[in-house]
Homo-oligomer: 405 residues x 2
């Protein structure tokens, strides 16, 4: 039975017979009832039957803490090769059946064949930017709502001057009359070109792709026609398959950045939902995200290290025939955290900052420079404090935010 | 400030100043930072600024039980008129910021104008079926995976003979070579026609609409061309906006039934996610669901009464200029529960059964008849036990499953 998808669940129950429960899931979510099937049909139904792989029971005296990690194999033949079908099969009804969390999915190579993953991936994006041996640096618009095109252009210009590789829209900047996507792509990429002429530095701008589901592809093409060289997308509010539809469209020839908006409704509970690693790591990469944003383990809005490392592994894992996704730990990032980020994530990471760029006393350009200097220092094996002695932007940043190294 | 969407959150924190926290959400999720805005810009930015409506603190000595219900008004001008934009605005980033659950959303009439809601609604569906003064009765295919067209047709025929008004696919029946949607619609509706010729009874068959997001409309049209008179849709695995795109498409001229698959990843935790009433009630109706399925408060997979009543109210509420959605409490329903269902939901409800139809000793036809008899009994004010004395199908059902009245 190689062509199956194995789902790992954590089931909580004070009293249940977990082996029996696992069996009832394996049968109930596939053929319905095995005993009701006539003997003459059993041979042909066997290939549709779910199978319990294993059950690991964690006994505990703490109330509500008795649980089991259960793995169940679902035959591929039961579902079509798309993420909605996979999720509905393994967790559609089951999600509503008591305290149960979906921890992991391990699909078959046959299922995998329907997905080509990220179109560019880490290597392709490094190629586009001409940056190979260091983390990438991204900054986010500070404030976007209510600003007009010239204000956005100016913000973009200041950020670009700091030496960042990527600039992204805020995820709450939707299609609006003041800064429609085609117009803001135009003015921002003019600013990018202007800076590139001065510095020789290339830059990707991820414009937020929003609006009605069935118009997303047209909207993406319009943005690309206007010059967009990357897109930001709130995947979870549209479903993974919308991302897959975008990433697998040959006309949508730019990297896609997946924003984790709404993810906190799904991953943080120990008892319900979907693990962060699966939700934001494995499934976003499968659906074709070139960049995967998630809360960093350091900042204001934090995610536990175990989860952020799980996402990182899912983004970089080489077991699957897919390009790698760039992990982008986000929120509360300042230059003093760069040593930790590189320690925890290596150089295949995007250092992503908002307040840590815009809150710099020398402005957004100075903020970007401070990050560039922090990255240089770490890669040279120098402490930030030492490096800051001859680097003004970093010096200011450390004075405000401190360092952790 | 009438054109706002008011979001209600439950925030948990042992120590936080909830008023301060509310203020930081209202500002942070709209203009970003008020103090950073130059004085000259403040007048023009005022219309984008979020506002704290009220904060109700629940003090408690129980650890982890100190919480506040906070209402925040978000100006409509900040987001486009679609559900992904609304959700990302009010809960995108915030969902990841500690223990916080989204309890409710109250959008403006301006926002509402972008939505026409269910295309048929309760009245339209009653009109189609010619059934006006009783609950509708639906049965679900017992087992679908691995069965061929003739087996499905036979199952359908048996269910139809029992006198049900609606038959729905199982939500895990995806596009597959054995029973592709166009073919199964054809054979099932032939069976429906055959029964109608005998009994005069009309029937809707909700075929499961699955596959790639960007092909859903074409797939729906193909099913309708083949004769489909209703569609089932796993909304949460595709996003609300896909449902809205389907329900607002003039060519998709059949009622849509929203299945709650995956909903349990979102509603059951007290600390995270989205309330069942909002998730499955208000938002599904806004997006255009003619039928809303959810776990019943009675059966095997249960939802608390408070939640099921919240969903019911959201489906039936007459404050909004939208047709009503049929509430469909599901799972574990047998004829003996019909008195409770009608007591709790009134007659504007669909009595929906799987095992309670197929597990009947007289077969699926007998199972349907038992439900029809149970409904008749309740509407006549007779106890099921009395009614069963002269009604064999109901008598058998009560012997197996008992009654609750």
């Amino acid at each position: 039975m190689s062509d199956t998808c194995v789902a790992t669940y954590r089931l909580y129950d004070d009293r249940a017979d977990f082996h029996k429960k696992a069996e009832s899931i394996a049968v109930g979510l596939t053929v319905g009832s095995w005993t009701d099937i006539p003997e003459t049909k059993k041979a042909s139904m066997q290939k549709h039957l779910g199978r319990v792989v294993d059950v690991h029971i964690h006994e505990s005296d703490v109330p509500n803490e008795r649980y089991a990690d259960v793995r169940i194999a679902y035959p591929d033949v039961n579902f079509s090769r798309d993420i909605p079908a996979l999720l509905v099969t393994v967790f559609g009804k089951l999600s509503m059946d008591g305290r149960v969390k979906l921890l992991d999915l391990d699909w078959s190579s046959t299922f995998q064949q329907a997905f080509s993953g990220p179109k560019f991936g880490i290597a392709g994006i490094r190629e586009q930017l001409g940056v190979h041996n260091r983390p990438l640096l991204m900054s986010i618009f500070k404030s976007v709502i209510g600003h007009d095109l010239s204000a956005l252009r100016e913000q973009f210009h200041q950020q670009a001057l700091g030496g960042v590789d990527l600039i992204k829209d805020d995820e709450i900047l939707f299609e609006n009359p003041l800064t429609p996507i085609q117009d803001r792509v135009k003015v921002c990429l003019e600013a990018a070109k202007q800076v590139e002429e001065e510095t020789g530095k290339k830059l990707l701008y991820a414009a937020n792709l929003t609006g009605p589901t069935f118009e997303l592809r047209d909207q993406a093409r319009r943005a690309i026609d206007a010059g967009a060289n990357a897109l930001l997308f709130n995947v979870l509010s549209y479903g993974y398959d919308a991302l897959h539809g975008l990433s697998s469209d040959p006309d949508i020839s730019v990297p896609i950045m997946a924003h984790p908006a709404m993810a906190g409704a799904l991953y943080p509970s120990p008892h319900y939902g979907i693990s962060a690693r699966l939700l934001l790591g494995k499934l976003l990469r499968l659906a074709g995200a070139d960049f995967v944003l998630f809360p960093s383990p350091y900042g204001s809005v934090t995610m536990p290290q175990e989860d952020t490392q799980g996402i990182r592994e899912a983004c970089l894992d080489t077991d699957r025939p897919m390009k790698q996704s760039f992990p982008v730990p986000s929120a509360g990032i300042h230059p003093g955290l760069v040593p930790l980020i590189i320690r925890d994530f290596g150089i295949d990471v995007v250092v992503n900052a908002g307040g840590g760029v815009h809150g710099h006393p020398l402005g957004a350009a100075g903020g970007g420079q401070a990050f560039v200097q922090a990255i240089d220092a770490v890669l040279q094996g120098t402490s930030l404090k030492d490096y800051a002695q001859n680097h003004e932007a970093l010096h200011h940043a450390i004075q405000i935010w401190g360092t952790k190294e």
